[in-house]
């Protein structure tokens, strides 16, 4: 049994109180009208959102799943800890900021500054996956994790905006495209993904198609670029002790 919350005209504070108080793992929120912070710091819940959630959805999310049957806004999964956020639409700016683990799956496109400063540690490898295209400043300061941009429906253009990977010093970006993003910084190496590289993201692609439809083999048969930093210490040579 799921707990149902009618979010119509309800303050975000009350929504979160009801989620926390819920004895059931599964919580369905209906008539969501832009309330921010839903599921912020939430532990051990499975939240289904109908309508439009506001900014900072699932911030610091822990051992929880959130599914949005529509679009999400800015700062989705900020400093997310683990769990899965699934969005059956597009999302706004800065999804997955400082993300530590877990998965964010966007069926459509994402705005600017996606995946900034994602990191990883041991078995904690976060994944940000975008089905469509993504704006400028993707993966700035990326320190770990996998960012996958599929560009589905944008095959004729590069699905990634400008200034991708600035300050990147860890992790990897996989982009399904024939056109390399322009103006990559010098400390990022871009190359054609090999079959072995593609196998690294097969589980994520299979998860993506299991949620949103499509064929994993067909997607993986396309050309991918893989972007990795060429050093873990990009700033090292900049300094002299004084």
């Amino acid at each position: 049994m799921a707990i149902e919350i009618n979010a119509q005209n309800m303050h975000f504070k009350l929504i979160n109180e009801q989620i926390r108080a819920s004895s059931e793992k599964e919580v369905v929120i209906n008539n969501t009208i832009g309330q921010r912070f839903i599921g912020s710091g939430c532990v051990g819940k499975d939240i289904h959102i109908h309508g439009i959630p506001g900014n900072a959805l699932g911030a610091y999310l822990t051992k929880s799943d959130i599914t949005v049957y529509g679009n999400a806004q800015d700062a989705l999964g900020d400093t997310m800890n683990d769990g899965t956020i699934t969005v059956f639409g597009n999302c706004g700016d800065a999804p997955g900021y400082g993300m530590r683990d877990g998965k964010i799956l966007i069926k459509g496109s994402a705005g600017y500054r996606a995946g900034i400063h994602m990191k990883q540690y041991m078995e904690k490898i976060p994944v940000l996956m975008i089905g469509g295209k993504v704006g400028d400043f993707l993966a700035e300061y990326q320190a770990g994790g996998k960012i996958i941009v599929l560009g589905l429906g944008y095959e004729d253009t590069c699905p990634v905006g400008s200034f991708c990977g600035t300050g990147m010093h860890g992790g990897a970006i996989y982009i399904r495209t024939d056109i390399l993003p322009s103006g990559l910084p010098s400390q990022v190496d871009a190359f054609d993904a090999t079959d072995a590289d593609k196998e690294e993201i097969r589980p994520e692609i299979e998860l993506f198609v299991s949620k949103f439809g499509g064929n994993a083999d067909e997607i993986l048969a396309s050309h991918f670029f893989k972007l990795v930093p060429d050093t873990k210490n990009p700033y090292k040579q900049l300094y002299v002790n004084n």
């Binding site: 504070k13 530590r100 500054r113 900034i116 300050g167 010093h169 002299v240 004084n242």
Partner: protein, 501 residues
Amino acid sequence: MPVNFFPAEFEVVRNSDRCIKCRACERQCSNEVHIYDADFDKMLSRDNQCVDCQRCVSICPVSALKIVPNENAFRKSANYSQQLMIENYRQAGSGGVLLSSMGNPQDYPVYWDKILINASQVTNPPIDPLREPMETKVFLGKKPAGIKKNPDGSIDTHTEPYLELNMPILFSAMSYGSISKNAHESLARAATELGTYYNTGEGGLHKDFYQYGKNTIVQVASGRFGVFKDYLDTGAAIEIKMGQGAKPGIGGHLPGAKIREDVSKTRMIPMGTDAISPAPHHDIYSIEDLRQLIFSLKEATEYKKPVIVKVAAVHNVAAIASGIARSGADIIAIDGFRGGTGAAPTRIRDNVGIPIELALAAVDQRLRDEGIRNEVSIIAAGSVRSSADAVKAIALGADAVYIGTPALLALGCHLCRSCHSGKCNWGIATQRPDLVKRLNPDVGYQRLVNLVNAWNHEIKEIMGGMGINSIEALRGNRLMLRGIGLSQKELDILGILHAGE
């Protein structure tokens, strides 16, 4: 032979009459300054590697050592100092950005030293703290603007979350990574015993220190290192770091060499990678965005913890503080341009930002003028060097002060300003196990407790002298201050009269 463009900064003076060649200095110096020459049975020095940390001087059993400034002098210029010339040689040799540590050492005015404190005579008697109670307890957080009543006529006693301090002093943010585990343990235990708080900095919280959670302020900065649910839940308050006095406008950068196993675990990043905190929070471009981060943290911790926003003192800090006070923050920490750091570009540290004294006075006045002073508490930081500085800060409008450098001094720091090398001989700013173990947390924590208790006693005495028996009555009480040798403009900004007025 390569030409060495500049001489060693310091000279190791060894009294050979006293030296017994025990080689303790050689074993203790991580900079490898001292060497023993077996052929000549003699201790030698590599002066150019010395940073003047005074470790060898302190441990030499026969007091045979002195470290003195090298008297060799370039041709004097009031414009090009020798230091400036050497810095240019360094950059010409390497192409690097100059990197320094600890607070700005340049000769800017120190306003604390140009402010004098009042005392009572004849008409309003001083109070003796030895025989009368003096209240130094401080509560940090939002204060209600007025008394509200419930529908049944009773008084609404709901208060916003606050911090309770036994004295108006907290330990400022120093991350595990920039300082050692033993240094962190000393701070955590001292804060617990004193009834105040220490601050994790942006380095996460080591598992061993979760037990000190109720005396811990956990920091969230642009790099979000070690930030997760348990971390947020453990701290007594959450500090969002927007800026740091030593390096306003730029981020942090812990070199990969300092990310050893334990630091890696605490920050939750792989060993050996650089820990980069970008200059901006890339999700904060406005007061509204800041409000969003504050409330996402408040939601995540169920409104049980006050949120501190820390900013560097910069030119328009008063307007910035006004925005922060309206953003939902409970406490504003303002960090002046003399504040310490584990590493900052020299040019930034020495040239960016403004003094805390002026920033604090401007912020307090602005918030009063706008009628929102009760919305936030103010913590002043960035070179509060003594109890007298603390008293002056409180009289200028601070609720409490952060101390960083004095705490490090208590642990043995000699301000050699070489933290960024990671080779701290005092076991503070290093992760090298052989150096870290030189700092015994049992001793370190006691020295911190001693220091702060002594300061607190001095604060009581100074307050007593003014005839004030509660820190609440001192806060913003600028009539208790007079300026000496200050211009009218400086006095106006500080909101104080000149001595004699």
